[in-house]
């Protein structure tokens, strides 16, 4: 146990000082803070623009020119003006249309609406430089329709009271009972990415660390000082603690920035961005799945690192392992689109993918407790089995110098050498 902690401590101290760790931590912190701050800045800019528009003088307001061939809206010009307080509505004669069009095309500061009747229904031609400038067609539809309908109803001698009632909007109050889909979607992508990179990065770190001890031949001294299993487990744990600290730091800084700066009314395409699914429970589960997922991958990565004799071989040796990680990542990546699909449920049970899949589903949907428990059990049992195998393979691989060992050869040798 003492040796385990010594290896852990040394691995941690050795790696925490490394430039790669310091720089990657800083970069990730900057990204997290930016991800939280940018929506806040955008929202602030938008609202200050709105404030500015409201206080505009009438002379500074954009002009909306109205040509009325229908005759319905001329008489209700005041009503139209009331409905578009941000614009100045001006009635003009039909013959000015062409020169106005030229002006709009050139300057784009004013807008032109030509109203006419086709089969007793008002038709509007709306001229503007770019769609999105000026009053929205939806708003126009509402205003002009209301004026037209009021007029028609009045002609039919309907009482004012009834007209008001008939034209009032119905109210629809949306009450979402499940988890916010959009917020959950982005959050789960975020979580899967973070988990994947953390697990991949630190697993890779274990591999590199083992390989460097082997290529520098420190290994010979180490294995005669400590049992190989202690080195493997201590190293895995040391890197894991480092990863955990980095991950916790990111989550902590992210949470603090979120509470301080993230706008409550932030929307994407009009949909609320709700991060309420980041409950303490889901946070704890993310940490647990990181620890377990990392342990599983790191134990395999350590063996890969041990098969290498020369530093140049590290990358090619890592290839199959990288494939496994990336395939697992994409398999679970598919799960947050439809977090309750069969694929997602399967990914939550496979030990290689569950560390990515379950946390993302926890954020975006309600995962039944039995699925979490089963997935954790499978993962833990797999870790124990893989761990035992890794210790065995590692002990043999670590002392083999010469050509890079293939995993199949390694299995053969370890079988032959069963004491």
């Amino acid at each position: 146990m003492r040796e385990f902690f010594e290896v852990l401590k040394y691995t941690f101290k050795d790696n925490v000082k490394k430039k790669t760790f310091i720089i990657s931590t800083i970069i990730m912190l900057v990204i997290v803070i930016a991800a939280m701050l940018i929506p806040a800045i955008v929202t602030n800019v938008q609202s200050s623009n709105k404030d500015g528009e409201n206080s505009k003088n009438p002379s500074e307001k954009s002009i909306v020119y109205l040509v009325d061939k229908s005759g319905y809206f001329e008489k209700n010009l005041q009503e139209v003006q009331k409905q578009f307080p941000d614009y100045q509505i001006k009635l003009i004669a039909e013959n000015k249309v062409d020169s106005l069009k030229g002006d709009i095309k050139e300057n784009g500061k004013s807008f032109l609406i030509v109203a006419s009747l086709a089969k007793d229904v008002p038709v509007f031609e709306y001229f503007l430089k770019q769609y999105g400038d000026g009053p929205s067609p939806d708003a126009m539809n509402k205003v002009f329709k209301s004026i037209y309908a009021t007029d028609l109803l009045k002609q039919a001698n309907v009482s004012d009271d009834t007209i008001t009632k008939a034209l009032s909007d119905v109210k629809i109050n949306v009450n979402e009972m499940g988890k916010n889909k959009l917020g959950g979607y982005f959050s789960s992508i975020f979580i899967v990415m973070i988990l994947f990179f953390a697990i991949y990065f630190y697993g890779f770190g274990v591999s590199m660390s083992v390989a460097s001890e082997k290529t520098s031949r420190v290994m010979e001294l180490l294995v005669t000082s400590v049992k190989p299993s202690r080195i493997l487990l201590g190293k895995t744990a040391g890197m894991g603690v480092l990863g955990l600290i980095q991950l916790s730091l990111l989550i902590f800084v992210g949470a603090v920035t979120y509470t301080l700066a993230f706008p409550a009314d932030f929307t994407i395409g009009g949909m609320g961005f709700d991060l309420s699914s980041f409950t303490p429970f889901s946070m704890i589960m993310i940490i647990i799945y990181f620890i377990l997922g990392y342990t599983l991958y790191a134990l395999m990565y350590a063996v890969v690192g041990a098969t290498v004799s020369k530093a140049e071989d590290v990358n090619s040796a890592m290839m199959p392992m990288s494939f496994v990680s990336i395939i697992s990542f994409y398999f679970s990546y598919g799960t947050f689109a439809i977090p309750d699909s069969i694929v997602a449920r399967v990914a939550s049970l496979i030990p290689l993918t569950s560390a990515f899949s379950v946390p993302s589903r926890l954020i975006s949907t309600n995962v039944p407790v039995w699925e979490i428990v089963t997935s954790l059990l499978i993962l833990i049992v797999t870790i124990v089995l893989v761990g035992m195998m890794s210790i065995k393979l590692y002990s043999f691989a670590v002392l083999h110098y010469g050509d890079r060992l293939k995993i199949s050869t390694l299995f053969k040798i370890s079988k032959e050498n069963k004491d």
Partner: protein
């Protein structure tokens, strides 16, 4: 107390690397493991240390298999194995801590050894910045920092200049006086003659010679005659029936079958009044024995 290597063999694939090696080290001191490159010395050491699994035989330290006691031994491997990007003090402390030495004691002992080996100035340097000889010093400290009773030294003097070689020798003498058991593999025959009580010579995995160094030399007899003098004495020697010789810059080295031949030759030289610098009858050197036992294969 003692190390016993009993009928140990090892194959790498089809190649027999060590064939039935046997030796026993009952008393403290230095045991010399000799042989040409690739003779199986390092493999033998690694088998004792359980780094390489032996195919057959038994290896025991204090009557118990060595496999379970490896962490008590000291090991100076043939190739340098240090963390290149870690400071000397830091990695030595780590190695000491792995052996269960307290932090304070480790620091104290490392400082002592760095001073003893005249390497104090490297305490806070990265290992990769050190010369080969200085790295060897650090490696040496790593192998004895836990004061082991049994120490393996694979080519301890490689890369060392004469000054540092003497420094190392001083430490090895100190270890011998402290009753440590040292298994040393080396190519430097003079070193072996200086330190080793018992030796074993390997050739392609086979033991070609093994036993007490003095006894071995004795068994060869005093059949080396060294004469440094003026003039050509080859003909004089031939008259006495001494025909096998080597000539070097200093003089002659004859092979004699008995000492009588030598004295007769001496009389002749003296009667001819040739100026004589050196006359010596001695046992063959380990170098000669080694060449005789191993060299003819080449």
């Amino acid at each position: 107390m003692g190390l016993l290597v009993d009928n140990v063999s090892k194959k790498f694939g089809e190649k027999l690397v060590v064939n039935n090696i046997n030796f026993e080290m009952k008393e403290p001191g230095v045991f010399g493991l000799l042989g040409t490159n690739g003779a199986g010395k390092t493999t033998t050491i690694r088998m004792i240390l359980n780094i390489v699994k032996k195919d057959s035989g038994a290896i025991k330290w204090n009557n118990k298999p060595t496999a379970g006691q490896v962490t008590n031994f000291g090991y100076l491997p043939e190739e340098r194995g240090l963390y290149p990007k870690v400071k000397v003090m830091e990695q030595l402390t780590y190695f000491a801590r792995l052996r269960g030495i307290t932090h304070e004691k480790a620091k104290k002992d490392i400082t002592y050894w760095l001073e003893r080996l005249e390497a104090s100035e490297y305490t806070n340097m990265l290992a990769e910045k050190l010369s080969k000889g200085n790295q060897q010093k650090i490696q040496f400290i790593a192998s004895i920092i836990h004061d082991p009773e049994l120490i393996f030294m694979d080519e301890p003097f490689s890369g060392l200049d004469p000054v540092n070689t003497d420094l190392f020798k001083g430490v090895i003498y100190e270890l011998i006086n402290k009753k440590r058991y040292i298994i040393m593999s080396t190519h430097q025959m003079t070193t072996v003659e200086e330190f080793c009580r018992d030796i074993l010579i390997l050739k392609n995995g086979d033991t070609v010679l093994s036993g007490n160094l003095k006894d071995i030399k004795h068994s060869y007899g005093r059949n080396n005659l060294i004469i440094n003098c003026e003039g050509n004495i080859v003909e004089l020697a031939a008259e006495e029936g001494i025909t096998s010789f080597n000539q070097n810059a200093e003089g002659y080295e004859f092979k004699i079958s008995n000492e009588e031949q030598a004295y007769k030759l001496l009389e002749k030289i003296l009667s001819k009044r040739l100026l004589l610098d050196k006359f010596e009858i001695r046992e063959p050197s380990l170098h000669e024995i080694f060449i005789e036992k191993v060299g003819d294969a080449k």
